[in-house]
């Protein structure tokens, strides 16, 4: 067999191997996409219900006296009793009162406060119901189960059906989830507190980690002499990137809280801890970005008589900026999803108020998810999924910002 023939005979095998290799690649991508799809389907399927919330329509008169004493819940109870006069027994009444959320009184107060003219008028108000009724309306409670296995009794079921038929019980858009903080009652619990907490922490983290990381990288890459000390520093930075995040939490607890006496559970401390954790990522990515700037640019600037700082500021940094931003965003995304270090510095507390500043107590999105996932109420499951969705939206937004920033930096030249 001639050489040409031998080569030709092997060709088929070589092309086959190439096709297989490509198929494996496509397979891997499809598998990954499949997992992503399953995850998104499950999370969205479970979390989308939060967009709606059940409300009950109650007709009542807000008396000036009740508004004065703050007995809003009493007004609601009266209205409920009026609607279902057959509930006389103590146990029945309790079940009846259980229909409305414990936060219904606040909802009523808010409506009246916004419009004080309502005092003295008899009219209908839409008020939030309890999580059990909400779950029933969202078909999350199986009516066919025996009464003892259900969280809603047959008696309650009958009343609810009456209410549904009369149109006094319906699903409406759940504004509260996006505008309020955490709550013990799932129907009142919102994500805003955690989202603001996360945003504040990340802001602190970015403010600290980005300049520090970039300056460190620039110094190590451009100015520091290459000797044993800088080697040691480099090794340490690389190791820090691999340190479990909870260790940074411990460090924060020991140093920021105990030594410096900074406020516990504050986004300031959370951000500082996250900054510690993010720094190595930013430094490593920034150094890689600096290294990838072609030496010809450096030499060109130097040969024109630019001082080292001018070389870095005018040429190296602008060229490396897209890479640095990418590294920073990756670090930030990592920080956004981080729970462990925040647990250590007390950002795991149950906080109802939406934080107004970095020194106030706050919690963060991943911590909120962790807390809700742990809660026994069925309605919290729905909120957990919804919170995860919010977290994902956050991440997508951050990445989008990164892409846009990078594009703009690149377009400048």
């Amino acid at each position: 067999m001639s050489k040409a023939e031998r080569i030709k005979a092997g060709l088929a095998h070589r092309y086959r191997a190439e096709r297989h290799f490509r198929l494996y690649g496509i397979g891997a991508i499809l598998l990954a996409l499949g997992f992503l799809g399953v995850m998104l389907t499950v999370v969205i399927g479970r979390g989308v219900g939060v967009l709606q919330q059940s409300y009950i329509q109650l007709t009542l008169t807000v008396t000036a006296e009740a508004a004065e004493t703050g007995d809003w819940q009493g007004l609601i109870k009266t209205s409920l009793r009026e609607q279902f006069p057959e509930a006389r027994k103590r146990k029945d009444k309790k079940q009846l009162y259980g229909f409305v959320s414990s936060g219904a009184g606040y909802a009523l107060r808010r409506q009246v406060e916004q419009n004080p003219d309502l005092i003295g008028q008899r009219r209908a108000y839409w008020l939030p119901v309890s999580d059990d009724v909400d779950m029933l309306l969202k078909d999350a409670i199986d009516r066919s189960l025996p009464e003892s296995d259900r969280r809603i009794t047959d008696q309650e079921l009958a009343w609810i059906d009456t209410l549904i038929e009369s149109g006094a019980l319906e699903l409406r858009f759940n504004k509260g989830f996006f505008t309020s903080g955490d709550s013990r009652e799932p129907e009142l619990a919102g994500i805003l507190g955690a989202a603001v907490g996360s945003a504040l922490s990340l802001l602190v983290c970015l403010m600290l980690a980005f300049p520090l990381g970039v300056m460190t990288a620039v110094h190590l890459e451009e100015f520091a002499p290459k000797n044993r000390w800088t080697d040691l520093i480099e090794v340490n930075i690389n190791n820090l990137a691999a340190v479990p995040s909870i260790v940074f939490g411990l460090l924060g607890l020991a140093v920021f809280l105990n030594v410096f006496g900074l406020p516990r559970s504050a986004p300031l401390v959370g951000g500082m801890v996250l900054a510690l954790m993010t720094l190595p990522t930013i430094i490593i990515a920034s150094r890689a970005a600096l290294k990838s700037v072609p030496p010809s640019i450096r030499q060109a600037a130097m040969a024109l008589g630019a001082s080292p700082v001018q070389v870095v500021l005018h040429h190296i940094l602008p060229s490396a900026m897209p890479g640095m931003l990418t590294g920073t965003i990756i670090g930030m995304a990592q920080a956004l999803g981080e729970t462990a270090p925040l647990l250590m510095i007390g950002m795991v507390a149950f906080i109802v108020d939406v934080p107004q500043g970095i020194l106030e107590q706050a919690t963060a999105l991943p911590v909120q998810i962790f807390l809700w996932a742990d809660a026994p109420e069925r309605a919290f499951g729905e909120r957990t999924a919804a919170a995860i969705l919010v977290l994902l939206v956050f991440l997508v937004l951050m990445n989008l910002t990164a892409v846009i920033l990078r594009k703009r930096f690149e377009q400048r030249w």
Binding site: P225, M302, G305, W413
Partner: protein, 273 residues
């Protein structure tokens, strides 16, 4: 339209170097350069005549680029690079204490092997040097420097209506001429060229060579080249480096018609030395 002022007694356009042609502009005495343990240059002594093109030739790794980079102290930044001996520019030791490297590099410009315009506009590329050295007092003055430099580099007609376009969008030869414009915008006395045409096609090379020939009236040019033909075409003086030694130097005519040293002969005639 910005008018290009005629050359007058304003400081920007004065003849940058009044030394008579042929007098030694740069004098190197006993230059040794080490990269760590490796000696890259061995006892180099050479005079670079003013207003002439001096070509440094020799096989790869012979030290010609290293020597070139000694003249504007670009080797300073290389770790483990150490230099002995002295190099004088107009009689002044450029390695002496108190010599400012930034100032030296404003006097000794450099053009590199691969065209390396900054990722900025054509205008900004040329304006960068004058800007950092504070050579232009006003925007109008800067415009003038930029246009004048582009004109001297023979690029103005090709880029006049797109000064805001990125310099990296030009062709290879245009980029190299942009780099030359950028170097002469600082009005240096000496221009070092490290294989300025090795990445260019013959036409672009010819244009650069023509440009070099014109530039030597105002500047002293030292050029490293791999192409002996190019050295023969553009230079007046040629120095042959081999394994870190300066084997032979002389007028280009002598080196290419009757070299004295066997290593030079073997190199320029393409023999196995």
């Amino acid at each position: 339209m910005i008018q290009i002022a005629t050359v007058s007694n304003d400081p920007i356009h004065k003849q940058p170097d009044a030394a008579p042609a042929g007098a030694a502009k740069i004098t190197a005495q006993g230059v040794n350069v080490y990269y760590g343990d490796k000696q890259a240059l061995k006892d180099i002594s050479i005079d670079v005549p003013a207003h002439q093109v001096t070509a440094l030739i020799g096989p790869s790794g012979c030290g010609k680029s290293t020597f070139l980079r000694c003249i504007n102290r670009m080797n300073d930044v290389i770790d483990g690079c150490c230099m002995e001996g002295e190099i004088r520019l107009d009689g002044e030791d450029i390695y002496a204490r108190g010599i400012d490297v930034v100032h030296l590099r404003a006097r000794v410009g450099m053009v590199f092997q691969k065209p390396n315009p900054f990722p900025k506009s054509i205008y900004d590329n040329v304006a960068y040097g004058p800007k950092i050295h504070g050579l232009a007092a006003s925007r109008a003055e800067m415009d003038e420097i930029v246009l004048h430099s582009l004109e001297k580099a023979g690029l103005i007609d090709e880029v006049r209506d797109r000064l805001d376009a990125p310099g990296t969008g030009l062709s290879g030869g245009q980029q190299q001429r942009l780099c030359i414009a950028r170097a002469i915008a600082v009005e240096p006395e000496v221009i070092l060229m490290d294989e300025p045409c090795s990445a260019l096609d013959p036409i672009a090379t010819a244009r650069i060579e023509e440009l070099i020939d014109e530039l030597k009236q105002n500047y002293t040019i030292v050029m490293v080249t791999h192409s002996m033909q190019q050295a023969a075409r553009v230079s007046q003086k040629t120095a042959f480096f081999h394994m870190g030694e300066l084997v032979e130097q002389g007028t280009t005519e002598d080196i290419f018609t009757r070299p004295a040293d066997d290593r030079t002969k073997a190199y320029i005639t393409g023999r196995i030395g």
